[in-house]
Structures are given as structure tokens and as C-alpha cells.
């Protein structure tokens, strides 16, 4: 018992210390940051680093851009993922199994393979960004938010995850509704979808986290500094301000903040979701 607590506390301390240390650093006056040995308690608390994080770099704008992208990603995945997940789980059609297998197989493909060709495809989307109908001439969807949203709008994982959940729901509600003359979309939307709220919540959290935290793909697609995401901003910011650790820590904490809030609000779903997708995936 005592040993268990000793070990657990030690591990938890190691895991939590980086958060605590960046929080302390972000609240210290600049002259306290570079002291040796370590100064655990700041001589006074100050928010100057948070202020300078927002004024030296357009951090508020980056925050907003990331929020738009992440929320769009969540809505698209919840809608398209559950729509297809429902079809694969509940509706009989000839290509059901083969198409689903192909989707599953695609989850095994490492992201690096599709990176360059996806860039090519985005650039050559017809009629977008000054392109002609053959996809030539302009920049396509590069440097637009669509270039981030569309490739991830209905991920294989979302479809798979929702399908697994729909499979656990009984079929007789569907049959009842059909006898009553209910249209197929309404059966999905009004009867089955409301029952998947826990799954939607879990998937929503995952998608938000992935969208908010993604770095490489936005960096490739977006060139306009006004469209930069918070992760790109944070990186550029830490690169340009190598020695300015106060604002850097403030920025890092701001970049983590929305996920932490989401986690604290929806902790139950978070853990369930990982367990569910982990074990059955």
C-alpha cells in the first residue's frame, strides 16, 4: 500500500512537473527566469508574459484560426462519419463489406505516403483558386482552410468508430419506423443518431484534439501568415524568441488550454473513448 502510493506519487510528479514548471516560468518576472539554482517561488506574480505573447505575435488570430479549423473538422467528421457509419452498420447493400474493408485497410497506410500527392491534388482541384476545369493555372485549394478541412472531413477512423457503435444498437426501431412510413434519413437522424451521443462526444473530442494539435499539414498548406494556426505560431514564436522563455511558456500553455478544459469537462468520455477504440480497434 505505502509502496504503491510512493511509486504513484513519484511517477505523477514526473508527469506533472513540466506543466507546473512552465506555469511558474510564465508567471515569473523576467529577471527571475534566469537564476541559478532554481527559484521555485517567483518573487512576484506577473501576467506580462501572457500580454507579450499576444502583442509581439498575433496569437489571438492564430488561436481563432485553429479554433475554426478544429471545430469544422469536428462537425464534418461527426456528420459524415455517422452517416456512413450508420449505412455500413445498418443498411444492407452489395458493396457494404468490400468498401468497408478498403476503408479499414486505408487506416494502415502511413500518412507520409499521401502527403505530397495530396498537396498535388489540392493544387489541381478544378475551378478552385483560379484553376480551370482541368485543374491548371491557379493554386487550387492551397493556402485556404478548405485544404485543411476537406482531406480530413470524413476520416476512416470516424466511419469505423461510428459503425462499431451503431452495430450495438438494435434493428427493431428501424423496422417499426419503416412500418410507420418514416423516411430513411429521418430514421437515421431522429431515431438512431440521438442514441449515439456518447460515441459522438468521444469522436468529437478526438477530432478536436487532432485538429487543434496538428502541425505538419497546416504548415504545408497554409503560407499566408494571417492563416497560421496556433501550433505554427507557437513554433515560429519559439524560434524567433529563443531566449524569451517567459512568453514562450505562456504561449505553450495557451496552446494547451482548450484541450485541458475540454478534458476536464468531458473526462468520462475521454477515457471511455480511448478504451473503446483501443480495445476494439
Amino acid at each position: 500500500m505505502a509502496l504503491f502510493y510512493l511509486v504513484s506519487i513519484a511517477i505523477a510528479a514526473v508527469m506533472f512537473l513540466p506543466f507546473l514548471w512552465s506555469l511558474i516560468t510564465s508567471l515569473k518576472p523576467s529577471e527571475d527566469i534566469f537564476t541559478f539554482p532554481i527559484q521555485w517561488i517567483p518573487s512576484k506574480l506577473t501576467l506580462e508574459h501572457y500580454k507579450s505573447a499576444f502583442t509581439t505575435v498575433p496569437f489571438g488570430l492564430y488561436f481563432w484560426n485553429s479554433l475554426v479549423l478544429a471545430v469544422a473538422g469536428v462537425l464534418a467528421n461527426l456528420f459524415f462519419g455517422s452517416l456512413s457509419g450508420y449505412a455500413f452498420a445498418k443498411l444492407p447493400f452489395r458493396l457494404n463489406k468490400p468498401l468497408f474493408r478498403v476503408l479499414l485497410l486505408a487506416m494502415m497506410i502511413p500518412g507520409i505516403v499521401t502527403m505530397i500527392p495530396s498537396f498535388y491534388v489540392l493544387r489541381h482541384i478544378p475551378f478552385a483558386g483560379g484553376n480551370d476545369w482541368l485543374g491548371g493555372g491557379g493554386n487550387g485549394l492551397l493556402n485556404t482552410f478548405w485544404g485543411i478541412i476537406l482531406p480530413g472531413a470524413s476520416g476512416s477512423f470516424a466511419v469505423f468508430f461510428m459503425r462499431q457503435f451503431f452495430l450495438t444498437l438494435p434493428n427493431d426501431m428501424m423496422e417499426m419506423a419503416r412500418i410507420e412510413g418514416c423516411r430513411e434519413f429521418r430514421i437515421f437522424w431522429n431515431i438512431y443518431l440521438p442514441l449515439t451521443k456518447p460515441a459522438l462526444a468521444t469522436l468529437g473530442i478526438f477530432t478536436f484534439q487532432a485538429g487543434w494539435n496538428s502541425f505538419l499539414w497546416p504548415m504545408i498548406v497554409l503560407n499566408d501568415p494571417n492563416k497560421a494556426t496556433i501550433q505554427m505560431g507557437l513554433q515560429a514564436f519559439s524560434y524567433n524568441h529563443q531566449t524569451d522563455f517567459g512568453p514562450m511558456m505562456a504561449g505553450a500553455l495557451i496552446a494547451v488550454f482548450p484541450i485541458l478544459v475540454l478534458f476536464l469537462l468531458l473526462q468520462k468520455y475521454f477515457v471511455q473513448g480511448i478504451a473503446f477504440s483501443g480495445v476494439k480497434g
Binding site: 513540466p18 452517416l83 499521401t114 502527403m115 493544387r123 476537406l150 513554433q235
Partner: protein
């Protein structure tokens, strides 16, 4: 039954309608790119000028590109240390955190927190923690009278630092997967083993470990796929340095493709890396199957 057939057709039509958006996006952003990756790797595509067929040129060049193989060696070195440690630590945490004791939820939460952070934010924080003079890590070491190294700036410790940071960030979610796996093991197995006089280590070796094989397979496959595509942390923590020791294939592909616009060549690099990832996942699959189930 004519009406049943009609209903069936109607449902099938609805189903196709429902999956159309997904399949369309899947076609445009997965199926086409996968085939195109192969095609592009045989061209000299550079975004700006006309794309020409280059035959095996890219692969010939790749074969002699020592930097590319260096990045491969780096990421293999990283994976060989990271993947087993990741599994050992998460399984350890899973067993430790699978008890019914007071405060367990708080401990689990604290272990899980790092997983929520973005790679960029985590790496940014660790740049400061690993600061040679004023960083927390060396500060704590100095309490023990140890003069810590310049973690990210020395060739000997740079990759170790990345391993440390990525482990800190990934063991939490794997712990949760392992806890779920552990809770799926039926109690009677342990009870009968206890009756047979098995000690704690034997119970772990002959019950827990084999019963967790599907979980371990999942966790190890995911970590191999992730590890061989290491990018974010290497980009933020060390910018591939010092002396290229932390430069990874994805990093090189990014530079080659998007900074130097040699997309054809970068595609060949990506294609070879993808095959390596599939090969390692496959080896992992065989390894996980080969051990005979004991229970």
C-alpha cells in the same frame, strides 16, 4: 415477396447516398494520392515547371544519398529504443493504475495529462526544461551534484532527449488502453493460479502478459507507425541537429519536397519509408502471433 425486394433496393440506394460524401473524399484524398505517390516518385515534379517522366533516376539517386540513409538510421535508432520502452512503461503504468485504491483517478489523470498536449507545445516546454544552464532537468540534477549535459545541443544526448519527451507524451494514452485490456481479463484465471501457488511474477508472466497480447499488438503497431514518422518533436526540439543526428526521414522529405521543391525525389523517399513502415508492422504482426497462447 415483391415489397421486400423493393424495400431492399430502397435501402441500398439510401446507403449509397449516405456513404457518397465519405467515399468521394476517400477517393480524392486517399485512393488517388496512394497511386499518385507511386507515379510521382518516377517523375521530376517540382511544382513550378513541366513534369517529366524520370524513370528510375530518383531511386538511383536515393540509393546513393547518404543523408537519406542517415535519417533512416536515426529513426531506427529512435524506434528501437522508443517502442519497447513505450510498451514496458505503459504496461507497468497500466498494472499499477488498475488497482482500486483511493486517489487512483487523480493519479491516472496526472499520467494522462501529457497526452493531451500538442507535440509542438510539449516540445516547446521541454526546450526550456532541458535548457543547459537554467533548465529544470539540470537544476534537479545539480541537487544531486551532477553537472547535466547540454541535452539538445550535444550529439550524444539529442536523440535521447527526443525519446524522453515522446515517451512522456505517449505513455498516458497507452496506459488507458492497457487498463481497459487488464479489466477484460477474467478474475477466475488469477484465482485458480493463486490456488496453484503461482507468485505475482508468474501470474503476470503466464496470465497477464499472454492475455494482453491483442492490446500489446495494437499499442506496438501504433507506436511503430508513429515512431518511424517522427517529425514534430525533432522539428521543434532540435531542428534536426546537432550535425543531423536527429534529422528524420519525414523531416528530410518535408525539406526536399516543400523547401527545395524536389517533389518527385521526395515522393521516392516517402514511398521507400512507407514500405519500411509496412514491413516493420508486418514483422510486428508475426512476432505477436508466434508466441503460443498459454491460457
Amino acid at each position: 415477396m415483391a415489397s421486400a425486394g423493393k424495400l431492399h433496393r430502397h435501402q441500398a440506394r439510401t446507403a449509397y447516398l449516405f456513404i457518397t460524401p465519405t467515399m468521394l473524399l476517400f477517393l480524392i484524398f486517399t485512393v488517388i494520392p496512394v497511386f499518385m505517390a507511386f507515379y510521382l516518385s518516377f517523375t521530376n515534379y517540382d511544382v513550378l515547371s513541366h513534369m517529366d517522366w524520370a524513370g528510375w533516376d530518383n531511386y538511383r539517386r536515393l540509393w546513393q544519398d547518404s543523408l537519406y540513409w542517415l535519417t533512416f538510421k536515426n529513426v531506427l535508432y529512435y524506434s528501437v529504443i522508443f517502442v519497447p520502452l513505450n510498451i514496458l512503461i505503459s504496461i507497468g503504468l497500466g498494472v499499477l493504475m488498475n488497482q482500486r485504491l483511493r486517489g487512483i483517478r487523480l493519479f491516472r489523470t496526472l499520467n494522462y495529462l501529457p497526452t493531451l498536449t500538442s507535440a509542438v507545445a510539449a516540445a516547446t516546454v521541454w526546450v526550456w526544461l532541458l535548457h543547459p544552464e537554467y533548465g529544470l532537468v539540470n537544476g534537479l540534477l545539480s541537487y544531486l551534484g551532477i553537472n547535466g549535459p547540454a541535452w539538445l545541443a550535444q550529439t550524444e544526448t539529442a536523440m535521447m532527449s527526443i525519446i524522453l519527451v515522446t515517451l512522456w507524451q505517449s505513455v498516458g494514452s497507452n496506459m488507458v488502453i492497457y487498463i481497459a485490456g487488464l479489466q477484460g481479463i477474467p478474475d477466475y484465471l488469477y484465482e485458480s493460479a493463486k490456488l496453484d501457488g503461482a507468485n505475482a511474477f508468474q501470474r503476470f508472466r503466464y496470465i497477464t502478459w499472454p492475455q494482453l497480447r491483442p492490446t500489446t499488438f495494437l499499442v506496438s503497431t501504433m507506436s511503430i507507425i508513429g515512431a518511424l514518422q517522427l517529425f514534430d518533436q525533432a522539428f521543434v526540439l532540435t531542428q534536426g541537429g546537432p550535425g543531423n543526428v536527429t534529422k528524420t526521414p519525414v523531416y528530410l522529405i518535408y525539406q526536399q519536397g516543400f523547401n527545395q521543391l524536389q517533389m518527385g525525389y521526395a515522393s521516392a523517399q516517402a514511398f521507400v519509408l512507407a514500405i519500411a513502415i509496412l514491413v516493420f508492422s508486418f514483422i510486428n504482426m508475426r512476432l505477436n502471433k508466434s508466441e503460443e497462447p498459454v491460457v
